[in-house]
Assembly symmetry: D2
């Protein structure tokens, strides 16, 4: 029973159907196919504003390309110290930007706080001797499974814009956050001040498709050239486009996220009192001790250790195609002995 | 009737079947899935030698990652002046390598010649004031549709190795070349001195899958880190692996290439006397004059101009799913008036 | 009365004499002059071990070139959060290394602690998804004027080497630290485990000359190419060499540092009770309140604010050519009213 | 008798006097000293237009920083195939720009021709798949000792600007060219369309000082940050500024260049019939055969081989402090046997 990560998931049937549907005949490449040409209209309707959309193959590419467009080589990018761009991209933002620096900011439960960002900005005043504050990036849902409220995003964006920083959102788990908030996708993005979004679909049911969405059209700048130069302009572009269109138009994004959020909620409920962070998306972080982790693994559960070595912390991620029985079994295993009688 | 490029092709049924076949259940990501784990065995058998294989999404990524592994930031990479890495990758090799320089070398029909490479090496002697010769890259089949004989590759590789340059082959159309030569895949690669190969599958039937194949295992070095850092480590790695396995194991590589080569041969035969280069793969370059091009376009044929402005040159590329009627029609349209009596 | 920085100093007479002495006749360039040829012998004697020495024009160049030689583009460099490479080089290490990341580590009084480094290493375990720990850099004397004891350096180097990190020392104020410790220059460098040193001379009396000194000769690698490529291979190399030779051979390094250390000590004594850090080199950090700072400035003293805005902190740096009267006046101004009677 | 290069020269007395004159007292650093503050006024008068001026330590730094400011990482820089930026800077322009490509252009006698540039531009039309034409750089005097007439520069600049390329001039031997043309410094720069100039002083008498001069003030952009980040913002900036001021204000630039041009002219006259290029600055290229070169070396003359191996070509460069006797001796040695009767 695998709870390693939502990237262990397969692709949703809707996605494969869409791929099969476009698999006919010769079609212009490099984004000139008829499906890629619909991306901006469909994303525009989804977000209720004019956008520019660029498909890429991975979330790391989406983040690094977006940030490199926002920050010069001598720029500073402010990010939560647990952010994916900090901890899991092998320096991709530095690579794509030509050496911009990520300034890490602490904050409770994986989220940036206004105070944290203000302090970081004050500690990094621009001068000719220093890197130049250029962008703020926040992750929605965060790496610790929590979700920014739209007002929180707006407050952070206001600070950033006041210092002329661009605002980027890493939305690898965008759908999970949107479902949790129950708000319009525009409310937690451009209406709250987000300039550029890495829109994830792969973790939530696509085979492999992400999009960089520009709300601030002036910031697109040289994005297309950067994408090509990084080997991320897909030749047979119809297949990524088809995935993104199906993901949005069929409502798949919402269905899959609603399911994984709900299953994660159940796991969280079973671990009451031991949760390290509020369960607001499809990730659950539990402080259970090393013994309990060992027992769980013996019982067939697969998951990642978290935190410092021997911290006793564990991370469980629910995939869109996670069997419901896996979750029921995990809940049972996590529930305190007395509670295990109750039927589920 | 589209003859723009083989990247306008769809994906072969064998490829989609393979994708569907692996689309079940939770599976480790980032190359730890059971199909990715088979890549080195299958490619090893294909090439009849031990290899290291890394899947990536695009040919530009394959080339740039391979070259960045072979050349330091202050290195020089010798390439034909018409090579894809020179003309069609928006500076990807420079980006991935951190600024290595591509030294362009002329040569007839898109192929490097021994004399050309020797002259280029002599003109670029290493000193502390210059970039350092580091790699030679050749394209098989070449950008002009021609194919290096194994002995030609061996002669070039010998020169390169004598100067301690690594040898890279851009095999975006590897299958077409292999079919033309009718030789074992190992004969035109590692047995001829190729150290690293960009093995293309996308143009010849895959949905989107390329592989970097190291024959010189010592050169792998930090490839994995570079791939991750460039956003080219695919999370749901099973899908690229499945494509590559099916492409090789089902013989699809040979079937599709044999078909496109044959169709290109027919087009070439119809254009006898006007061919700019020998037709040795699925590309045909014809000097026909601007008037003839205009006529062809009016007749519904789509293709790219080639050469200098108003040169009257045209490129036709055959895709694996090119309707045979398209080719017949093109042949008829190309044939000299007297020959046009034959019914279509 | 300027206490801004020791880079406001002029050049010592010994330095100008040395420049004049080599200013005759045509002489090979780019390090082939007869004075550059002596650098490795003279530095070797100074440090009592075989070294490789490369002159450069600035401390930022020395640090960035050294670190780029030690860390790959996907490397992590561990540095104190107040280090010059972090706060005052506009991202030069990132630029020169092609995007390596500086991981900042807190520590009391500007110095790395064993615990701090251990924690940072534990928080950054290498995997294919992360930057790879590659180097530790420490500043001697530190940015806050404190000095590592040789045993402290040895302890840090031991940890670093155990994790296969290279150890770099930013010695922009190397002489001040050496005089404070009263130890052999080798004791606080290679004998303590330092692999590469940025040896500063400019702040302490040179006109403009720094040296990168490799104790671990195997690490020199491609340094020469990197230096050239960064525009830091000086054509008329004799002048930088002459400065460095005079700086060491005439004992200037010690004389100037002894003087500035002593003057700083006096300022520190006058500010007893308000010192933010121990005074161990030529820098004094005082917490005096914004009012006192304003008064001092009205009285003609020039110095930098320190710390957070309105923190009331100030930094005073003594230059080698600082008039003794400036220091006496500053001491008087800093001394508490009652104490001002005592003669100095 | 050394004719290797003008960078084997010492520093002119005027330069050392200027250094000594500013060597007093504490002075703001990093360009805030009172001499640096005069640079823009003095250069402005010299060129008769408003300019922005930045001092750096080397010509490679000047060129690479200027070009990196003009060309994005995915840009193309058009340069003569013999240019210093191509052959003698170890890839510095690629490094500073983050991977821009230098497209080499042939042309007679080391100079770009209108036809050559037009052809190169036509061969590199911008598209999303290619590097983007961004800058044209020309060297004045050229690497082969020839000099562009102002009208030639204007013609090249016109083509460049028509395609929206910026125009850079590598003026490592600017003074030699200006003296040869006898024109106002503005005539062969901004009035002819040059946007940015690398103004050399080191080869022609300075100890080590070059300047980047922006005529197009809008192009300054982030130059200051790039300079700092590359370690080329000199802390004790007064010394470079003093050199540049003395170089211009004392007329040293003209005196030294006039002398070396005249001496080179004599050498050229002695080699009539064997000159490879017109002698228009302080460099002389002679095709004399390997035997004659060997003889010259036996006679005590030092110089570089030129061209292909065993080409029999040699380069002689006159330094500002070249003894007149060296030149007389060389002329005698070069003169045809019959002519050698004439007394020296």
């Amino acid at each position: 029973m695998r709870f390693f990560s939502d990237n262990t998931a397969s692709a949703s049937p809707e996605i494969l159907d869409a791929i099969l549907a476009v698999n006919r005949g010769l079609e212009p490449a490099y984004g000139d196919d008829r499906w890629s040409q619909q991306l901006e209209r469909v994303f525009g309707e989804f977000f209720d504003t004019e956008v520019r959309v660029f498909a890429v193959a991975t979330g790391t590419a989406a983040n690094a390309l977006a940030l490199a467009t926002l920050a010069p080589p001598y720029g500073a990018i402010f990010a939560h110290e647990e952010a994916h761009v900090v901890r899991d991209e092998c320096g991709a933002p530095e690579f794509f930007s030509g050496g911009a620096r990520i300034v890490t900011v602490p904050g409770p439960h994986g989220k940036l706080s206004v105070e944290g960002v203000v302090r970081a900005l004050e500690s990094n005043p621009p001068s000719v001797h220093t890197v130049q504050p250029a962008a703020l990036t926040l992750t929605q849902a965060s790496e610790l499974g929590t979700v920014y409220r739209s007002a929180e995003i707006a407050a952070l964006a206001e600070i950033a814009h006041a210092e002329r920083l661009a605002v980027h959102m890493d939305g690898a788990r965008f759908a999970n956050a949107a479902v949790t908030l129950g708000c319009h996708p525009g409310a937690m993005t451009w209406r709250a001040g987000v300039d550029v979004l890495s829109f994830g679909a792969t973790k939530n049911g696509a085979l492999g498709a992400e999009a960089v969405v520009f709300f601030d059209l002036a910031r697109v700048a040289d994005f297309e050239l950067r994408r090509k130069r990084a080997g991320h302009l897909l030749s047979k572009s119809r297949y990524a486009a088809a995935q993104l269109l199906a993901y949005i138009e069929s409502g798949l994004w919402r269905r899959n996220a609603a399911r994984t959020n709900e299953l994660a909620r159940r796991i969280g409920a079973a671990a009451t009192g031991r949760l390290l962070h509020p369960v607001e998306s499809n990730e659950v972080f539990i402080g259970m001790g090393e013994d309990a982790k060992r027992e769980l693994r013996l019982a067939g559960f697969e998951f990642y250790d978290w935190g410092a070595k021997s911290s006793g912390e564990a991370r469980f991620v629910v995939s869109w195609d996670q069997p419901e029985e896996d979750v029921a079994a995990l809940c049972a295993a996590l529930s305190p002995p007395g509670a295990r009688i109750s039927p589920r």
